[in-house]
């Protein structure tokens, strides 16, 4: 995670709040009711995810405490190269749950010594392959045949992104 008060931290804060002000103003200009709807959606979202997120952060922090740093560093550290990227892709594909689970996990892995390209491979694999999402959403909603086709056409993405990230030496901010 970016350091507290660092340039990246302030940047992301500024972007988020600037965006919120602009989008809020657009809503208000179009129709004040839209503005209230937006605030309502935000409030429901916060209420919906807050308990889960709290628990996920605590769980991830405990995980961080017990994760053997040198082991993580060896397996998916900055020097783990293509093997680390492959392993990160495998972990990402089978990580269950939405971003509430995966992002605290990513931060825990990064703090334990995971490398930039490996983290990027993890996030990409979790986004595109998402085995749990296939079971929970894709097969019921879009059917097994199309879910299978989607899986097949997404298989190449995480390895290619991981290799490019490795080649250009992406680092964690």
């Amino acid at each position: 995670m970016t350091g507290f008060g660092s340039f990246g931290d302030l940047m992301s804060m500024a972007i988020i709040y600037l965006g919120a002000v602009v989008a809020g103003a657009l809503c208000w200009r179009k129709n004040p009711a839209l503005f209230h709807q937006g605030v309502g959606i935000a409030w429901r979202t916060i209420k919906g995810i807050a308990p889960m997120l709290l628990i996920a952060i605590i769980a991830a922090t405990f995980l961080e405490q017990i994760l053997p740093g040198p082991l993580i560093g060896n397996l998916i550290g900055p020097d783990s190269g293509i093997y680390g990227v492959s392993l990160a892709i495998a972990i990402g594909a089978i990580t269950p749950g939405g971003p509430i689970v995966s992002f605290p996990l990513v931060v825990a892995l990064a703090n334990a010594g995971a490398g930039g390209p490996q983290v990027m491979a993890f996030v990409t694999s979790w986004s595109t392959l998402a085995v749990m999402r296939i079971i929970v959403f894709e097969i019921p909603v879009i059917g097994p045949k199309f879910a299978y086709r989607r899986f097949v056409t997404s298989l190449f993405i995480a390895p290619v992104v991981g290799l490019i990230a490795l080649a250009i030496g992406v680092s964690l901010s």
């Binding site: 919120a20 809503c27 839209l34 405990f62 199309f146």
Partner: protein
């Protein structure tokens, strides 16, 4: 998740005793303090975007389009579709039923999962930082189109309505989409 937290807590106690527990509690609290202001801003932004983007317009843009333009439109729509899989998969099923080709739907879903603006604002930037996220987005930019092209190559550019289980979102899923928090 709660089980995981408890197991993690017990494991850290067994491995490191009280100091480990204290360290974990301090780190958790610090992480929360650091994240809370950004998450609140992010939720407000996501909420306003969700209120602004008309869902039926998204379905209309993708319904009849095809070719490269269709793929690009689909990718842009996917990136801007707010909400989690609760929102995107029912929308996709509706677009499919309206006659969109498989390649467009792949481009839509891939863009939503790789470049979803909503998720990037709420999760990627607060957790992984602005620079790392910007690099990741740049790297991932071509892949929704490439995946769509690959689909057309493998399975042909034709409507896939008959493959989709849910023809269109039911009243339940529609209501769910409204009430469901964005991921």
């Amino acid at each position: 998740m709660a089980c995981l937290a408890i197991i993690g807590g017990v494991a850290s106690y067994l491995l490191g005793g009280v100091p480990k527990l204290e360290a974990a509690a301090t780190t958790s609290g610090f992480t929360l303090l650091q994240l809370a202001p950004r998450l609140i801003g992010a939720m407000l932004l996501a909420g306003f975007i969700q209120a602004l983007v008309p869902r039926d317009a998204v379905a209309r843009w993708l319904g009849a389009e095809s070719g490269m333009r269709g793929l690009m439109l689909a990718a842009v729509a996917g990136a801007f579709t707010p909400g989690g899989p609760m929102a995107s998969f029912p929308i996709m099923a509706a677009i499919a039923a309206a006659g969109a080709d498989g390649g467009c739907l792949i481009a839509y879903l891939t863009a939503w999962s790789l470049l979803g603006i909503n998720r990037i604002i709420v999760w990627d930037i607060p957790f992984l930082g602005f620079e790392f996220t910007a690099v990741r987005m740049l790297l991932c930019l071509p892949f929704p189109i490439l995946a769509g092209l690959l689909y057309r190559r493998l399975y042909g550019a034709r409507p896939i309505a008959e493959l989709i289980e849910l023809g269109k979102p039911t009243e339940d899923t529609a209501r769910d989409r409204e009430a469901r928090p964005a991921e």
